[in-house]
Amino acid sequence: MGITFTVQAFNDGLAQGKLRGARCMSCGELHLPPRPICRTCGSRQLEWFDFKGTGHVETFTVIGVPLSEFKERSPYAVGIVKLDEGPTISGLLLKEKIDELRVGERVEVAYIKGQDRTILGFRAV
């Protein structure tokens, strides 16, 4: 049996404007990004689950010394967002004045065009 819930499938989802995770068909736990084995109950029966993309900032940083791929964006904010459905995931954070970014701030998903891929981001709302 092949594994469906791949990094590639997640990235393809981003390119199509979808935030795709997995739901455990046994215990209902949601996973984002998707994974092949439920880490709550161990079940291997999972199905695709599309997240709404709304949530709030759990924690964040503003990067002064960037990765080479992100050099043009520096300084940029990146952090961990807790989605309204429950799971937490890392993303670029977009806000006009990044100095005013705060823990708890409401955000919605943003699909950011990178050089040759779509980067997961969240925009302050």
Binding site: E58, I63, V65, P66, L67, I80, S90, I119, G121
Partner: protein, 399 residues
């Protein structure tokens, strides 16, 4: 161990610094040990494949130590590589397979620019889901700091106290990368620009200490260093043939956690540290109160604060305060990172776990020189891989 430094090893490769550290270890054995007596080699290394474009470093070190065909293996657990190598060495002896093994680690990082090192270190995080959205390695710890400040209502000034303490200790350690305290550094940095600082905090709050990943500034981060560290492990009965004052490995622990920080329940604590420590304390039959000296993984100042809480030294939210109040200072009740820590001693990633064991060994034998913790009998080392996805803990006591 070699001195950890950004320049002095520039004309050497990883194999030379590892051999240098190994020779110091072997030659310092009280009643003498020949390299040929070593039965197996465990080499901690994070990313020599990238840094020097040389893999297969386990066999390479056995070769360069002149002890082929003894088995050798390179162990990778990010920044905990040689903490893991150490535990595997202990396990190989406990299993009865070997009597004497050599464990160590090395990293040769300074062949790369800061930008390249930033990219390489990010490989220890989740490349597909963290680095892919722009998280750097300091950025992950900075996010822990943001979460920590938010949860406990504490401030960056507590982290600055860790910086000041560890640089003060590093100044007393001839093996440390940085050997000047923060005030001396401030005076020197300010001289050229005609700037004077009234105290450490004014310097650390100034533009001389730029933000690497908010809220962490340059002096919240360990430096990029080259270096190697090696220790020799032997079974208890065997060890007594070589020394009258061995240091005993009383307990070891290791744990894993999610590779991505975002998959954790709590960003202000490391479950892997708590689990590894619990196992080590239990094996040792010792408790947190009995630890006289500890080396913890302060790759960033926030990491020391969190480690001292996860190891049970202080209640949650109180680790920073302990640094401010001097409790973790060299003469405090719970000395932490007497050798300067990663912060001032340096952090050649793969060498760090072995360097911690080296430090605790010296401390418990009363051989730590100017940074000796008086009367230390029980010591602990905590080595963290990346943002806590691998953690090892060892507890040592005087033999």
């Amino acid at each position: 161990m070699t001195r950890f430094h950004h320049k002095i090893h520039a004309d050497k490769t990883g194999r030379e610094i590892f051999v240098e550290a190994a020779l110091e270890a072997v030659d310092s054995v009280d009643k003498g040990l020949k390299l040929g007596g070593v039965e197996s080699v465990f080499v901690g290394n994070f990313s020599n494949d990238v840094f020097e474009k040389q893999s297969h470093t386990g066999a390479m070190m056995a070769d360069w130590l002149g002890i082929n065909p003894k088995p050798a293996v390179r162990v990778e657990g990010a920044c905990a590589s040689s903490g893991v190598a150490f535990n595997l060495g202990v396990q190989s002896i406990a299993s009865g397979l070997y009597d004497i093994v050599l464990v160590g680690g090395f990293e040769k990082m300074r062949s790369q620019t800061t930008e390249q090192v930033t990219d390489t270190l990010a490989m220890a995080a989740d490349a597909s889901y963290e680095a892919s959205v722009g998280f750097t390695f300091p950025g992950l710890y900075a996010s822990m700091a943001t979460a920590y400040f938010h949860k406990y209502g504490t401030r960056w000034e507590e982290l600055a106290a860790v910086t000041v303490k560890n640089h003060r200790n590093g100044a007393l350690n001839p093996k440390a990368h940085f050997q000047s305290d923060i005030m001396s550094t401030a005076v020197k940095a300010g001289e050229g620009k005609g700037v004077k600082f009234k105290d450490e905090l004014e310097f650390l709050s100034s533009s001389f200490n730029p933000v690497v990943a908010h809220p962490l500034r340059l002096f919240d981060c360990c430096p990029v260093s080259d270096g190697a560290a090696v220790v020799i492990l032997a079974g208890e009965d065997v060890a007594r043939r070589f020394t009258d004052t061995p240091v005993m490995v009383a307990g070891i622990g290791q744990a894993s956690d999610t590779l991505a920080l975002h998959d954790r329940q709590d960003f202000t604590s490391m479950r892997a540290t708590r689990v590894a420590a619990e196992n080590a304390y239990r094996l040792a039959g010792l408790s947190t109160k009995e630890i006289d000296v500890a080396d913890v993984h302060d790759c960033f100042t926030i990491a020391e604060v969190i480690a001292t809480e996860d190891l049970g030294f202080f209640p949650k939210g109180q680790g920073g305060k302990a640094a401010v109040e001097g409790v973790t200072g060299l003469k405090g009740d719970k000395p932490v990172n007497a050798d300067g820590g990663l912060k001032a001693k340096g952090h050649p990633v793969g060498a760090t776990g072995a360097a911690m064991a080296y430090e605790i060994f010296k401390q418990l034998r009363g051989e730590a020189g100017d940074h000796q913790v008086a009367g230390a009998e029980v010591g602990l080392a905590q080595n963290v891989g990346a943002a806590g996805a691998t953690v090892t803990v060892q507890i040592f006591r005087r033999g």
